[in-house]
Every structure is written in C-alpha cells, then in structure tokens.
Symmetry: C2
C-alpha cells in the first residue's frame, strides 16, 4: 500500500514519487496548486501537475538562475524576479551584498502563501527588508518599467497556463526596455530532450534583441529529462568574460565559478539548437 | 489502457515509460533481461529492472565513456571494454583510427545476442574486424592481463548482481596492472543524488592507485537523477591538459572538445565527494 504522485513529463514518460501525505490542494485563480510531502524529495510544490520545486533539489535551480547573471553583472543593485513565488531565487539574490532591492512579481499569491507555510527553507527570505513582494502580472509589470533593473530573472512555469506570454518575443522586448543600459536577463527555458523547438525559438527571439545571447544548463533531477536550460540575454556583459576577482565566496551547494563557465559548454545536440 | 514500465530508482522514486510491447524477457544465467519497445525512448534494454540503454538517449553514455579517455590518451591502440555487451561503447571506440584492436569482455552472452537483434544501431559494430568479443568474466580477464591495454573502460551495471566485484579496490589494482605504463581507465560510477557514498568510496580507492584521478559527469535522462558520474584513473596523462591539436572531428551528438573540459567542472556537492 502506498500513495504515489506521477508527473507525465511527456505523454509517454514521467517520474513517480512516493508521498506520505498531501499537505494542501487547491485550485487557485490561476492554476492547480498541490503541496506534497514526499519520501525522497521532502516537501514538493506542484503546479498544474508539474513539479516546481522540492526541498532536496531546489538549490540547483535557484542558484543557477541567480548567480550566473549576478556574477556576470559587475555591480547589480536592483533585481527583478518575475514569478518565483516560492522565494528560492530571491534567497540566492540576497547573497549578493551589492543588491539593494530585489523585487518579486508573482501572479499567484497562493504560491507565496503556501511556500512560506510548507517550504520555509526556500521562502524564508521573502520577508527580508531588501525584498519587495508584489502579487501582480509579471508581463504587465515589465510593460510598465523603463531602465529600472540591472538584472531580471524570469522564474516561470512551463509555457502553459499563466506563463504563456512569458515566452513571447514581445515579452523579451519589454524586458530589454525595463533593463538599464548594461542590463542582463535570464529565463528558464525548459529541456532539450522534449522541448527542443521551444529552446530554438526562444534563443533566436532573444538573439534578435540582445547583443549577447547564450544558453547554459544545469542538472535538476525532478525536472523533465534532468537537463535544464537557461537563456541569457545581455546588453553588454559577457558571462564568459567575468573577471576572476569579481567572484567572491558565497555559500552554495551547486554553483561554483568553474561551473559558471562550464555550464555554457553545451552538449552537441543542444548547441545545434542555437545555430 | 496502457502498459507502463516503472523503474524504482530508489525505494521512493522512479521513472515510468509507456511500452508498446515486450520484445523479449528472459532470466539469463546472470540476470533478468528485458527488451522493451517504448514510445518515448524507442527500444530499451533493461537488466534486473534497471534501464541500461535506449535507442533515443544511448549516445550520451556511450560517447562520454569512450571519447573522454580516448582523446586524453595521445595514441590509444589497444582498448578493453569490460561489460558493455550492447556494443555502444565499442561503436564509439572505433571512431578513433589509432585503435587497432578493441576487446569486449561481457559476462552475459544474452546481452550481446539481444542487443544485436533489437538494438542494431548500437550493437552493429560488434562484428567489425577490429573488434574481439569474449563472453567471459571481466574480473578474471583483468586479473590475467599485464601491461596489455592503453585504455580500459568499465561499462558495468550497478554494483548489484554480476557487477558487484567491479566496484572493488582489488579490481582497480588489477586494472592498473593490466594497463600499459601510460594507461588510462574509466568506469561508470552512478549518480551523486542517490549514491553519494559509492562515488566517494570509488574515487578514494582509485586515487590510492592512480596518480591522476578525476570525476566527470554527463546528463543521461533515463538513468537515476539524470546526472551520471564517471571516474577516471590515469597513470600519466591528464584529461584537462589535452593538446588542442589532439582533438579531431568525429561525428557525435553529445561530446565536444569544450564539453570534454567542462564535464570535469563538478557541482559543489559532487566536488565535495572527492575531498
């Protein structure tokens, strides 16, 4: 006897995890939200049936979204996170002392509420005085912003449900306008095993807008295929030309300066998507 | 209605894949062998319930086992593959024209037989005249060999069943003896999310025997956690000091010279296992 959660990552393949109990289940205004207590991964946030984050492996995604652009930028002061209501990216952003203000714009307040309740190790910094939390539409927030941010991170769900327009070319144009003249943005852009077309499209859309466009990867065991991509668009700064003295010691479990560089070396079949 | 194969990669977590049909199922003298036709991955070889290789993602493992040591060695002529009855590593080895002879020692002849039948894209080179196939115990073969090989690759199953002694320190001593004075070996050493202790132990065992010991990784979506490690032991040659002119163009889908280098940049929690 046992209760198992299964995510069909494609129509023919998925992962399955033993759950001790369901901690919360609710249809919010935007999506189906489930918080599960799993044996292998600890507490797990699931949106529309897709694993968003787990206590055990969350550090990979959150560190790689935050530190790669923040070390690429020489002096990031104002950072915007679109989505990311679990607070994990914000926690990593705050490890950079140069950051005076980190703004989170999450469309679904329930994600914030239940992350604080059941994933306090991840969401704990959302109440930090350097953080401004807005429950609002990220697309609209971007559209209203001009030369405001040094770094923008798009920590969205897959391009279904509320996140659809966060994968549009119009959104990337808006991001460019919302960034300062030497700004950088990064977005999670799914996996190359099942979503090659998406990566190819986003990469080329971003490349038409940003002079420096690069893809990097990280291993996230609870995400489809385990190989996750991030697309970076930068107006000036090159993530592969960070001065060695720019790196300082931070407490991480995945990110290192060597891995920063190495994460841009793509498997051949992924590199082909950028050509 | 549908038939699904589920591999429990830990007692509380697994992958599940839709299968069209079972092509073959047999208890061999050594293990349970299943050949499945899956929707997502094409034909899939399963031993003792664990996915060994699939048509869709096999290239990652086979390229990374073969090309990293073969490009590290300046002139590999005689190569031994222990295990690897599906023939994928052999196929990659043969892409190196310097290799005059590639010997495969697989304990279970049925793996070879059914790979040839159902995975011809992988096993097709086992009949190449540069290949010698022996159905024999790899441990014993190593014990009887002295200064014979330039490169030895251990393409084993997990350390359960017939592969248990392929993860012992005595085996690594035997490999050192079986290698020429500038020989290199590489073994697949499982994943750091669920098998951290194994990686730590193997790494330190190998390090007591080989002057150059390094860990590298690759993403293999059908293997537990998707993040796979390989441990390399080398008597002289350093995989991070390969002369640029040593690399030549080969037809790959994962391996590139840049990725060769980058695959040794370990996530922090993996690097910690080598300390």
């Amino acid at each position: 006897m046992g209760l198992w959660f299964t995510e069909k990552q494609t129509k023919d393949f998925g992962i399955t995890a033993k759950i001790n109990k369901s901690l919360h289940s609710e249809q919010t205004d935007f999506q189906q939200l489930d918080m599960l207590e799993t044996e292998e991964w600890g507490n797990m946030l699931v949106l529309d049936g897709m694993v968003m984050t787990t206590k055990k492996d969350e550090f990979v995604y959150h560190e790689m979204v935050a530190h790669v652009p923040l070390f690429t930028h020489p002096n990031p002061k104002h950072v915007l996170v679109v989505g990311g209501g679990d607070g994990g990216v914000i926690r990593e952003v705050l490890k950079h002392k140069s950051v005076e203000k980190a703004t989170l714009v999450e469309i679904d307040g329930k994600v914030i509420e239940y992350s604080k309740k059941y994933l306090p190790e991840i969401a704990g910094e959302l109440d930090n005085p350097r953080v401004e939390v807005k429950v609002d539409d990220g697309f609209m927030h971007i559209a209203k912003s001009e030369k405001e941010y040094d770094v923008i991170m798009v920590d969205s769900t897959e391009p279904v449900g509320p996140a659809v327009n966060l994968f549009s070319k119009g959104f990337y144009s808006g991001i460019s306008k919302a960034l300062k003249d030497d700004g950088i943005f990064v977005a999670q852009t799914d996996n190359p095993w099942f979503k090659a077309d998406l990566i190819h499209q986003v990469y080329h859309d971003v490349k038409e807008i940003f002079p420096v466009t690069k893809l990097y990867t990280a291993n996230i065991p609870t995400y489809p295929s385990g190989l996750w991509t991030f697309t970076m668009g930068s107006k000036i700064h090159d993530p592969l030309k960070v001065k060695p003295e720019r790196f300082f010691d931070i407490n991480t479990k995945y990110y290192t300066p060597e891995l920063h560089q190495a994460s841009f070396a793509l498997p051949k079949f992924v590199k082909d998507l950028t050509e």
